[in-house]
Amino acid sequence: MTIRTRRAVLSNSMAVLTAMAFGTGRSSAAGPVEHAVSITGFKFVPETITIAPGDRITWTNNDIVPHTATAMDKRWDTGTIAKGKSKSLIVGEDHLTEYFCRFHPKMKARLILR
C-alpha cells in the first residue's frame, strides 16, 4: 500500500527506479537522504554526489534553457527540467553511474555509492 502510494506520486520513468529501490530494502542506517543538485551555467553542482539506494536526488535548473539529468546507460532519466523547475528521483540499486544532459552532451556528472 505504501509502495503503491509512493509510486503513484512519481512519474513513469521514476516508477522503475522506485521499484528497484524499494525491492531491496537496503538503505543506510540513518534512513534515506535528500540530495540537491543545482544546474547552473551548464554545470551540475556539485558534480559528484555520494548516494545510497533509497536516497532522493532533486535537480533544480537555474539556467534559462531546459536541461535533463540522464544516465549514460539511459537506465534513468529525469526528462526535461524547465527553467526554474526541479525534478526528483529515488536512487535504485544499479543507479551508480555517470550521467549527462541529453540536450547538452558535454554536461556530465557522477553518482558514487556510499
Binding site: V65, P66, H104, P105, K106
Partner: protein
C-alpha cells in the same frame, strides 16, 4: 577591444559588400540595436535547425538541431520579456541586415544538399556561426552594453552559445 570589434564588423561588411550608412562598427551599436542583432542571430540559427530537421536523417544532427530550437527560443523569450519590461523595441541596423543576407545565401546553398553532404555542411556552419556570434557578443557587445539587465542576459546567452559551440565542435569531429 574596440579595435578588434571594428575589424570584425569591417570584415563582415567587406565580405558582403555592405556599405554601412550610420553605425559602421559593431562596437558603435546601442543596446537596442545590439538586442536586434541578437534576436536576428537567434532566429537565423532556429531557421538552420528547421532545415536540418527537414533534411537530415542523422540522429545526432537532429538532436543538435532540436537543442538549437529549444535553447534559442528560450533565449529569445527571455530577451523579449526583458525588452517588454524595459518598454523598449529592438532597432534594426547594418549588422542585422548583413547577418540576414548571409543567412539567406547559406539556406539556399544548404537546401540543395542531401545526406552526409548536408550533415557536414550544417555541422561546420553551426561551428563557424556560433564562433563568429560568440566573438561578436564577447568582444563587441558585452563591453559596450549600458543596461545592466541587458548585459546580464547577454552574459547568460554567451555561456549557452559557448556550450553550443563546443557541442558543434564535437558533432563536426564525429562527421569526419
Amino acid at each position: 577591444m574596440k579595435l578588434r570589434s571594428s575589424h570584425l564588423a569591417m570584415a563582415i561588411a567587406i565580405m558582403f559588400s555592405v556599405v554601412p550608412a550610420k553605425a559602421e562598427s559593431a562596437a558603435d551599436l546601442n543596446d537596442l540595436q545590439i538586442a536586434h542583432v541578437a534576436y536576428v542571430a537567434d532566429n537565423i540559427d532556429i531557421r538552420y535547425a528547421h532545415l536540418a530537421l527537414a533534411i537530415s536523417q542523422n540522429p545526432e544532427v537532429r538532436a543538435f538541431a532540436q537543442t538549437m530550437i529549444r535553447d534559442h527560443t528560450a533565449v529569445n523569450e527571455q530577451a523579449l520579456a526583458l525588452l517588454a519590461k524595459l518598454k523598449a523595441e529592438p532597432q534594426g541596423n547594418f549588422l542585422s541586415t548583413t547577418l540576414q543576407q548571409n543567412a539567406e545565401k547559406l539556406i539556399d546553398e544548404m537546401s540543395s544538399l542531401r545526406g552526409q553532404a548536408f550533415d557536414k555542411r550544417y555541422a561546420e556552419n553551426e561551428l563557424a556561426y556560433h564562433k563568429a556570434v560568440n566573438d561578436l557578443v564577447e568582444n563587441s557587445f558585452i563591453p559596450n552594453i549600458d543596461n545592466a539587465e541587458v548585459k546580464a542576459l547577454f552574459e547568460a546567452g554567451l555561456q549557452i552559445f559557448k556550450a553550443h559551440e563546443a557541442h558543434a565542435q564535437m558533432m563536426v569531429g564525429k562527421l569526419k
